[in-house]
């Protein structure tokens, strides 16, 4: 359903642009294309169309006008909330705009992008962001799959399981980060209290770049696996029971049933969960900010945190915009993956 909607919107947009470019003349063709594209049943073919050309043209014109009127608000809204900010961002990234100095903006071309290359903190932030994505997405997928399978078991009382799945998902990210910070605190943290039984000397998690990084990844995985579990649980419930019964009749054990029935049928749900997780994990911000503030030093700074720091703390909007453009294109890449996936399914 969503897929169809998305595709329709895409088609409508293309036609909008087409009409803008050539306002008169191609009305008939456009409508025909549209109808063909939409797969309208009972669409009259070209030969049958020809005799009624005049009346059709009149109708077409009003059709097109109507479509234009109906699409205009969406188009304007998209212009306002997507096209304008993105263009503004691209423009700002070409300026030396540092509000803290109160100086007027100065056009500097690609200078901001050039200084990215020599800015070690940018590379740290970029690497951290990609590493967080590479580590927490598969981890959350595995943990989420396990949780979804447990939640899908025929419990007599369903709500406690479902509720425990919902709670981490419903919690604000900043809270989770603060909770994570307390968990891993060296003096009074729960983690060190548990480890005390295994290891006599306490670990100071936030004194080391990679231990902080592990603590952050664990917290993100905990927070996000419930989202994955919810998506997968929805997928699991669409798998008809007959398939399992048939597989059992054919002599398949639980492992084979999982690998040959559950997993293949769950594939679309997994794809959706993974891509959604990837996009949000590329934008990781709240949890590291509240857990470590990017420390020790700059070892756990993410790209989103670095953008925020440059724009909000330093008011260096030009450089911040250049950083945001980088993140924008990375996110675009993943979104394209998602759209391709959705298209191949339908």
């Amino acid at each position: 359903m969503t897929n169809n909607l998305a595709r329709d919107a895409g088609e409508a947009d293309t036609h909008n642009v087409e009409r803008e470019g050539d306002p008169i003349g191609s009305d008939q063709g456009t409508v025909q294309n549209k109808l063909r594209a939409a797969g309208e049943p009972g669409l009259p073919r070209r030969p049958t169309l020809r005799p009624r050309r005049v009346s059709r043209a009149v109708l077409d014109a009003s059709d097109a006008a109507l479509a234009r009127v109906l699409l205009a608000p969406t188009f304007l809204l998209l212009l306002l909330i997507v096209v304008y900010p993105v263009c503004r961002l691209l423009w700002t990234s070409l300026l030396d705009l540092r509000l803290a100095a109160g100086m007027p903006a100065r056009f500097v071309g690609i200078d901001n992008y050039l200084s990215l290359g020599t800015d070690p903190e940018f590379w740290t932030a970029l690497t951290n962001t990609l590493l967080i994505t590479l580590i927490t997405v598969p981890a959350a997928l595995l943990a989420g799959l396990a949780l979804a399978l447990i939640a899908n078991l025929p419990f007599r009382i369903q709500w406690p399981v479902r509720l425990s799945l919902l709670i981490p998902w419903a919690m604000p990210l900043a809270f989770v980060g603060m909770i994570g910070g307390w968990f891993f605190q060296s003096d009074y943290g729960v983690v060190n209290d548990l480890l005390r039984h295994v290891r006599p000397t306490r670990i100071i998690w936030f004194n080391s770049g990679w231990l902080s990084f592990i603590a952050i990844c664990l917290t993100i995985t905990w927070k996000t696996c419930s989202f994955v579990a919810l998506v997968l649980l929805a997928g699991l419930q669409t798998i008809p029971n007959e398939l399992y019964e048939a597989a059992s009749v054919d002599g398949a054990g639980p492992l084979r049933r999982f690998f040959f029935v559950t997993l293949p049928l769950l594939r679309p749900a997994i794809a959706v969960a993974v891509i959604f997780r990837m996009i949000t994990s590329l934008q990781t911000f709240d949890i590291p900010l509240t857990m470590t503030r990017g420390g020790p030093g700059t070892s756990t700074v993410t790209l989103a945190m670095y953008i925020h720091q440059n724009t909000v703390d330093f008011l260096d909007l030009g450089y911040g915009a250049a950083l945001a453009v980088v993140l924008f294109f990375i996110s675009m890449g993943v979104t394209t993956l998602y759209l391709r996936q959705v298209r191949s399914e339908s």
Binding site: P120, N207, P296, G297, D313
Partner: protein
Amino acid sequence: MTRILRPLLLLAALCALPAHAETTLNVFISSALRPEVMRQAFDQFEQANPGIKVVAQLGGATSDLQAQYLNTVLSAKDSSLDVLMLDIIRPAQFAATGWTLPLNKDVGTPAAFLKQYLPAYAEADMVDGKLVALPAFADAMFLYYRKDLLDKYHLPVPQTWTQLAKDAATIQAGEHDPQLQGVSFQGAPIEGTVCTFLLPYWSMGKSLVHDGRLTFDHAAAIKALDLWTGLVRQGVAPRNVAEIVTDQTRKDFEAGKAIFAVEWGYGWSFFQSADSAVKGKVAVAELPAVDGGKQVTCIGGWQWGVSAFSRHPAEAVRLVKFLSSAPVSTLLADKASLLPVFPPLYHDPKLVQAMPWLPQALPAVEQAKSRPVTPYYNDVSNVIRTQTNAVLAGSETPEQAADQMEARLKRVLR
């Protein structure tokens, strides 16, 4: 008689209401700087100025969080705040951006008017000939120490960090308490950590920024960082110092878990409160020097500014002038142990009774040094605090951090 009077009074009150609730001034203050005491000052102003209502808008607990909020609100030219409480490190940026109204013409001759305040504030609030804000209260970093423990081991107050480390080690060895820290200072990536770096750096007689130009001394920076890591290595400072924020130092010292603490003036009223474990056992001194250096401290303190986007600038200016007056300064010192901005108040008998160390604080506050004055202070601060934090966490060596600091500060002050 009352039968007639009461309805009349009620009627009068009803008539007066719309006229009197005309102007509301929104004042942005920190949630950590005793809003309940600030409220008393606002109440006094409301009584003296019928028709003006003062509403406190509580901002984040730390200077960094408040700056983030103000940056967002004021760069959007939002008029929802009328009066702003600003950390001493902000006026340069606010002067450059024009986010506060210059108060020059509201105080007669600024130079003469500012003479009544401590020189550091008169200097900080006057940027490029513009009077950006007026002083609210003073602050500086001090050395808090456990008088009872120093007396027990017959130790004088240390004048140098080396002496402090030795004294702390003696007491730690004598007390046999693994929980007892020698000295608590700030190492988390927060504003206070900028002062942590600057204290020994300044003590060597070096400066960081002069007239907007970088005057970074590489060797002194390494020595400054070495001093702190040395204290951690000797076991005098806790190993998790990279986690310690300003209020954690306050809590640890208040719980009796530290012999010495590097802390701002606000700590005093906490340490002397009823539920403090160290009540009556605390004293305050000037911060120690590096060997062969001079004793310096980092100046703090807060200012009142009028937002340039306020819809009631005249009333807001009146409020700011009231808030930066001697009676309010006395109130803040008396009720919240926030240091006065008027030198004579340091010898006020009533205040000295509440804060016996007040006369000693005056020379420290008078000689305290300001953090770099530049509109790009946020960038400068970030570079220093993240690098200092990295060194204290042990993820960078002092040499690496000094290299990084120099390279990044050059870019910021380009």
